[in-house]
């Protein structure tokens, strides 16, 4: 219903929409529990009728005869405004409201006013959608031709071709990250922020950096992509060629792009995930991530600081400090919960900052007016994946969530007994667990059977939670034995780029698989595309991939 409400808002006159659209959606979110979504939607339809029938007419009368303006508009009596009414306006307003009413009845009658159904209305371009201006619809006809996601292809038999394209396309230069598979270039801009809105997490430094990647019009003949130096590659001074151009001009046209918020794993920079981020942006998404120097476990060249939080986390696992295993586990759980809350708050802060920046003309952001705030997703890796799950559970503005290898003793969330789980669709991608050897277990004073029980209990709880999600879920496991959680980052690929070699093929293939599945998922839930790769028994273009589907409740 919220999407229908937004659709009706989009049909309002442009001036009204630009002024009040975001606010009215905010009021919808606030009032939906007390007023009910149906009443609010009907109210919005009446507003549309008023705006299209009475207000446009009154405005045009004012424009034609300014001297009469105050006399007509000065009074708020409806009778004054009805007198100059044109029949054509009544018919137009009535037709729009009737069409939207039919959509509402269809969605309600279907029993599941589900976002997927609604987005499919956009994508299939049915009669109701055609009643609106095409420019009012978002994400209908853009990069399908160039994308290699399964959602854009008609024949399942294309999978071999896709695999070939993915692998071949990702081998451009020896020191180059995988080439993005979408058609958009990638621009990046960053903003500084100092805030006390993020709850305590051991972070003493309230400085944050908001990084934003956006679809850009990039000419690689004249633009210079940034060299990426991050975390583990810094120790060897290794530079890696990216495809991101700082402060690039935005993509041509005025289409809007869904926003995806990102939370890296504990201690990692977003820069460790360039392959994933660039690929999403190349498919027409804007990606934003909020970073704080003290949550990183590496030392920045420009600003050397110790990572206070991560030091605490590591200390939590040292047996000699804690003396017994229960204390170690309890302390680690407590720190994970604190971190999860802080990272979730960072995602929310990043989202709110994006709204402020994109709507503040004085900022002159390259993505101003191009962010589709009605289609917002989030993804995170490791503890960032847990944070994304918590963020989605607490923020109805998010439509699709991707948890990459998040792990917690109590399933999807570090928070034990969470008040609620996400109602949005969720994609969980994981890799094989690297089981510790005897020496590591002895060092941690952790008996193997205890460790095994922890892992099994977590997996069972996560499976049960995925089964109960109202928005449905997918669980994708990449089962190649040489993969581990680091393969979500560019790390294994970068480390293997030595002596002019293109790097580890397994690492490239893993990134290509992650990119294909996550892009297909976001395309389905943020752009309303079909996703046979996820929803049918289509063969995966990658071997050693297992998909488990959990239908919406």
């Amino acid at each position: 219903m919220r999407r229908l409400y937004w659709l009706i808002l989009r049909a309002h006159p442009r001036a009204f929409r630009e002024r009040f659209e975001a606010e009215m959606l905010c009021v919808f979110d606030d009032a939906v529990r007390t007023e009910g979504s149906f009443c609010l939607t009907v109210d919005c339809m009446l507003s549309l009728l008023r705006q299209r029938v009475f207000r446009l007419q009154a405005a045009s009368n004012t424009a034609q005869n300014p001297a009469d303006g105050p006399d007509i508009l000065g009074s708020f009596s409806i009778a004054h405004q009805l007198s100059p009414l044109k029949i054509s306006r009544v018919i137009l307003g009535g037709a729009i409201s009737f069409n939207l009413f039919i959509i509402a009845c269809t969605l309600i009658g279907g029993g599941r006013a589900h976002s997927v159904q609604h987005q499919q209305i956009y994508a299939t371009g049915n009669r109701a959608a055609h009643a609106l201006s095409p420019s009012d619809l978002v994400g209908v006809s853009d990069e399908c031709a160039a994308a290699i996601t399964m959602g854009c292809l008609s024949q399942p038999s294309d999978t071999a071709d896709i695999r070939e394209k993915v692998i071949r396309g990702s081998q451009s230069r020896p020191d180059e990250l995988p080439f993005p598979s979408g058609r958009f270039g990638i621009g990046q801009v960053s903003y500084s922020a100092v805030t006390s809105e993020i709850p305590p997490s051991g972070v003493a430094n309230p400085e944050f950096k908001l990084l934003v990647w956006y679809p850009a019009a990039v000419n690689f003949d004249t633009s210079v992509p940034v060299d990426n130096v991050w975390g583990f590659s810094k120790s060897t001074g290794k530079f890696v060629q990216t495809h991101t151009v700082l402060n690039a001009a935005p993509a041509h046209g005025d289409s809007r792009f869904p926003l995806i918020l990102f939370s890296p794993a504990g201690g990692n920079e977003s820069a460790a995930y360039f392959s994933q981020i660039e690929n999403l942006v190349s498919h027409g998404y804007i990606v934003a991530s909020l970073e704080n120097p003290e949550t990183l476990n590496v030392i920045s060249f420009q600003e050397p600081r110790l990572a206070v939080f991560e030091a605490d986390m590591r200390r939590a696992f040292i047996y000699s400090v804690n003396k017994n295993m229960e204390a170690v586990l309890a302390r680690a759980a407590s720190l994970s919960q604190t971190r999860e809350k802080a990272e979730s708050a960072k995602l929310r802060y990043a989202f709110n900052q994006m709204i402020l920046i994109a709507t503040d003309r004085s900022q002159r952001a390259p993505f101003a007016g191009r962010v589709d705030f009605e289609h917002v997703g989030a993804f995170g890796h490791g503890s960032g994946g847990n944070a994304v799950t918590q963020f989605c559970a607490s923020d109805v503005r998010i439509s699709a969530c991707v948890d990459e290898d998040g792990w917690a003793p109590d399933g999807l969330l570090a928070e034990a007994n969470p008040p609620q789980l996400p109602r949005q669709a969720l994609l969980r991608i994981d890799m094989p667990l690297k089981w510790p050897d005897e020496a590591e277990l002895t060092y941690a004073h952790l008996p193997r059977d205890r460790f095994t029980r922890l892992i099994e209990a977590s997996a069972m709880t996560a499976d049960s939670q995925l089964r109960s999600l109202t928005g449905g879920a997918y669980h994708i496991s990449l089962l190649a034995p040489d993969l581990n959680d680091k393969n979500f980052t560019d790390g294994p690929l970068v480390w293997s780029m030595k002596d002019g070699r293109v790097g580890d093929q397994g690492a490239r293939t893993a990134l290509a698989a992650i990119n294909l599945y996550s892009t297909t998922f976001f395309d389905k839930y943020l752009k309303g595309r079909s996703a046979p790769l996820l929803d049918s028994n289509t063969d995966s273009p990658f071997s050693n991939v297992r998909i488990k589907r959990y239908s919406a409740q």
Binding site: E23, C26, D29, A31, S75, I78, N352
Partner: protein, 117 residues
């Protein structure tokens, strides 16, 4: 010469309620809805469509303006609104008009009472 405020009168019920809700303090859209409901003991309820339709015209006519007020941690989509001096004068004039009308109505009702013998 007619006073400046008279050209805005009479106010519609929705516009009157919105101005009354803003008379006490600056509020955002949802706050106005709740305040209108409270002031009328739940008998008059504004939906967001009606609210913003009226707010648009009140803003255009300068009776209401955006306020800089914002609470920490507020949803950034929220905007706060305040009464302008003109809006306060129009509200006062409307209340005076209504008081006159009620007075006339009361007198009229008294006049229709059967005379005691």
């Amino acid at each position: 010469m007619k006073p400046l405020t008279s050209q805005f009168l009479p106010l519609s019920p929705a516009a009157l309620h919105i101005l009354l809700a803003l008379a006490g303090e600056d509020r955002h859209g949802y706050g106005i809805m709740r305040e209108v409901e409270r002031q009328s003991d739940g008998q008059y309820r504004l939906g967001p469509g009606t609210l913003y339709d009226n707010l648009q015209r009140l803003l255009d006519k300068g009776l209401v303006a955006e306020s800089a007020k914002a609470a920490a941690g507020d949803d950034p989509r929220r905007r706060y609104y305040r009464l302008t001096n003109l809006g306060r004068q129009v509200l006062a004039a409307e209340i005076a008009r209504l008081e006159d009308m009620f007075r006339e109505a009361k007198l009229g009702l008294q006049g229709t009472k059967p005379r005691s013998t």
